[in-house]
Amino acid sequence: AARVGSQLGPAGGQGQLGWARSSALLPARAGGSEETGAERGPWSVPGMEKWSLMTITVLLALTVRWAVSLGSYSGAGKPPMYGDYEAQRHWQEITYNLPIRQWYFNTSDNNLLYWGLDYPPLTAYHSFVCAYIAKLINPDWVALHTSRGYESQPHKLFMRTTVSLGLALWAVLCLSHDWDLLGSVAFCLALNYKQMELYHSLPFFCYLLGKCFKKGLKGKGLVLLAKLAGTVLVSFAACWLPFGTDVEQIMQDKVANIWCSLSVLIKIKNVISPRTQLKLSFAVTFLSLLPACIKLTVQPSLRGFKFALVSCALSFFLFSFQVHEKSILLVSVLLPLLLKDELLLPYAVTTPAFLAVCLASFSILEKTSAEDLQLKAFSLSLKGYVSWFKSFPRIVRSLFLLSLSLMAVLSVLSAAVPPPQHLPDLFPVAVAVVSCLHFLLFLVYFNVVILWDSKNRGQKKIKYLEEEG
């Protein structure tokens, strides 16, 4: 590079400021010497300040999100039911115009069959606040009955903003670290926002319970337990108070709806009766959760907690009754959903971009040894039995590349090739099968990591991580 730089000087002559030399003659250089990283004085700020890097990252994330939103949204221009966008708008209409007691009940003004409110109260309060702002900007957006299917450009802009704010709320809630009380309040709020959070409730419960046990049930542990119970009760009360005595009825209705209303079920297996299906799925889910939760209660650690969150959510997703794709929020699984909503372009751009960023920053293809994957303890205990464990890194790498290529092939096929006549659902089913295999594998992996997380390996490390929060 230096040699190329020196070519840029003018044709001959001394005392001329060439391109190369002018940059070296900046007046502030101390004694004209080259600066190295080690020679920085006490007054200098290392590199670009942290705040500007953070700002740029956040701005970039927001820009990408808004650019993605330039595309269509689910149910755009599709009467009579439209889609989730219309559902959100409808909830704003309901919460703003009707008194609180009527939000969850079927009345003449509130037809529960047209996107009835089926999320807990915090979502309703959030919709209410948004509706208030919407009313200030343009009352037509939330007028009772007449605003159904309202789609206009400024309104689209407004709705996108409210979604972002909702997510910001989530982000703020999730930021609590080792503050147990604040964390439990936050979790209760989250639970009251979307009941899908129930997936995460068991690890929370077990982790906090385990912490209480560790502190000893006689002294500090009991105090902590009491405080936690108190905060949970208070949070729930605060959310449900406006509903007064109707709470019982609401809960009954909703739970009844989820489990027993046959007419709304999409996937029905005609072999076993629904009640047996229910019991079976409940049993399997519970069994798959059990090992991780027991381990967490007996040996509460932050690392174990995080792993347990993932494995419990996976168990619920895999085995529970009537699950919606959105509860997994993994991009590849959303493919059929996105194709239905004509969101192919954002998918085709963000998935490779996200993968590229992950691959680059996590150096996935390099860290494939047993040590890196935290399976050292597991591999040690298996050493005697299985001899192919030696080529572990290569197996992992090839598995990873295989799964990536499989997903890429399925994506391209789903988007470009029409399915054969006698198998119209070929591609969504294929995606579902592939994803299911992946998730089962991950479930096994995470459970293995949790269970073999031995005391020797991690005593110091766990303590350090816990202190670090």
Partner: protein, 522 residues
């Protein structure tokens, strides 16, 4: 980010390309229809009809190479949607058409990426910065690849500036690497793609003459007349003639040259675009309007004598100023010429190699922007992009760059007026501005601050201006009677900033030269 070799360049290029793909469904302006029309004209009609066709109002007004470029594209277009190639299909915009045109812009930007890569190679990387984010080449790559103006003009508003600027930057890089003939060839080709680059032709001409045709200087740096090389001049002349022959030759043979010239330089259009480009004439118009209002109030002027045609009425036609003298195309040409002269003289009498050439180039572009006839606000990019190359070298240039880039980019806001694009343009603008400020500040952290307090206040005032124009004003009752007020305010406010940056750059270039002369004499 892994600080390995050129991995970061690829990441930057790939990242911005992904972002461009996401912008495919965004709003596009009438320029989209313009290019679709040109695809249709060049595909469906014979060469002799290209510059005569007038079914659509958007007639072909770029030089022949661009027409050939559209012709080449049309052969790929027919696989996407053959209907777009029918001349009568005015305003045809099927999804395949939009996808194809947007994709063509994204793919032709590869030339721009390559040119940026070459420019980064030319920069002297003497500052061995440990952190990748501090390297001047990294900063330059981001400032060019992620340039806000280029992104929104090319990938939202829709134009093909990417590869054209790629050609320009590539020719600059070649001249910096002393590959003069290649640089000259690239610029000649560029001129025949889009003739707006004639703004910077004087810089090229003088620099090539001075540094290539005269091969040596005297000891004190002045010209050695005897080192004139006929060979070099002949080669240059040959290149220019060859390129012009390739481009205009067919039309010369057909006797259509006057028609082509009249299409390329339509002086029937007014002094200013419907939205005044923030140049000297915007200030001139504003003063004229203010004096008119003042004159009416104080009864110096007769209200019946004032012409009704409004300058911001959205029509592009001839109009008269009321108080100040009217401006003719010849007047603007003379003003531009006078404005360019000092920088050209500097380049001739005291060439400082590629840096001097770049300074002259930026000044020519800016001066033409300031005084040109019917200048588009997008032309400010002609000055901003080359100035990026200078900004990472010296703190003074960095300060001027920050003012010019921020103001110039802000003046592009009225191009995107639709609600869905509002968050995008604000976020992208913030992204670019925050990055340019923090990166250049950290690069020159050992010197005094890049901007003084007046400049900082001026730039900060852009925020309330934007809030007023986009949010407050539409909710007031004035919107119906004076719809042009936000445009007027933006234009005039940015004109102040751009004029200031132009003057500051001029002064710094002129005073730098004299100090060099003093040093050399001493």
């Amino acid at each position: 980010m892994a600080a390995g070799g050129r991995g970061w360049f690829r990441a930057l290029a790939l990242g911005v390309s992904f972002l461009k793909c996401l912008l495919i469904p965004a709003y596009y302006s009438t320029d989209f229809e313009v290019h679709r029309n040109w695809l249709a004209i060049t595909h469906s009609l014979p060469l002799s009809q290209w510059y005569y066709e007038a079914t659509s109002e958007w007639t072909l007004d770029y030089p022949p190479f661009f027409a050939w470029f559209e012709y080449a594209l049309s052969h790929i277009a027919k696989y996407f949607d053959p209907q777009m190639l029918v001349v009568e299909n005015l305003n045809y915009a099927s999804r395949a058409t939009v996808f194809f045109q947007r994709l063509s812009v994204i793919l032709t930007d590869t030339l721009f990426i390559y040119a940026v890569h070459e420019c980064c190679r030319c920069i002297n990387g003497k500052r061995a910065a440990k952190d990748i984010l501090e390297k001047p080449t990294f900063i330059l790559a981001v400032l060019l690849l992620w340039n806000f103006g280029l992104l929104i003009v090319d990938h939202i508003h829709f134009q093909y500036n990417g590869f054209l600027f790629g050609l320009m930057l590539l020719s600059v890089a070649r001249l910096c690497q002393k590959r003069y003939l290649e640089g000259a060839l690239l610029f000649a080709v560029l001129l025949h793609f889009k003739h707006i680059y004639i703004y910077v032709a004087p810089a090229y001409g003088i620099y090539l003459l001075r540094s290539y045709c005269f091969t040596a200087n005297n000891a004190d740096g002045s010209l050695k007349w005897r080192s004139f090389s006929f060979l070099h001049v002949t080669l240059l002349g040959l290149i220019v003639c060859l390129v012009s022959a390739l481009s205009l030759g067919p039309f010369l043979v057909l006797g259509q040259l006057p028609q082509v010239i009249s299409r390329l330089f339509p002086f029937k259009r007014g002094l200013c675009h419907a939205y005044w480009a923030p140049n000297f004439w915007a200030l001139y118009n504003a003063v004229d309007k203010a004096l008119t209002v003042l004159g009416l109030k104080c009864n110096f002027l007769d209200s019946t004598k004032i012409p009704k045609a409004s300058m911001t009425g959205g029509l592009v036609q001839e109009f008269q100023h009321t108080v100040l003298p009217s401006v003719t195309p010849l007047a603007t040409l003379i003003c531009t010429f006078i404005a360019i002269l000092p920088s050209v003289f500097c380049l001739w009498f005291k060439p400082q190699g590629p840096r001097g050439f770049l300074q002259c180039l930026v000044l020519c572009a800016l001066s033409s922007f300031m005084f040109g006839w019917h200048v588009h606000e997008k032309a400010i990019l002609l000055a901003i992009l080359p100035l990026s190359l200078l900004s990472i070298q010296r703190a003074k240039d960095a300060g001027i760059y920050l003012i010019l880039a921020t103001t110039g980019h802000f003046s592009l806001f009225p191009l995107l007026f639709t609600p869905p694009e509002l968050p995008i343009k604000i976020l992208l603008m913030l992204l670019f501005t925050v990055y340019s400020f923090s990166a250049l500040k950290s690069l020159f952290r050992r010197e005094k601050p890049l901007l003084n307090w007046i400049e900082t206040i001026y730039l900060i005032q852009l925020v309330p201006l934007e809030i007023f124009c986009e949010i407050i004003f539409p909710l007031t009752p004035w919107k119906r009677h004076f719809p042009f007020v936000p445009l007027l305010l933006t234009s005039v406010y940015c004109a102040l900033g751009i004029t200031y940056a132009w003057l500051k750059l001029y002064i710094s270039v002129l005073t730098e030269r004299t100090s060099v002369r003093q040093k050399a004499d001493a």
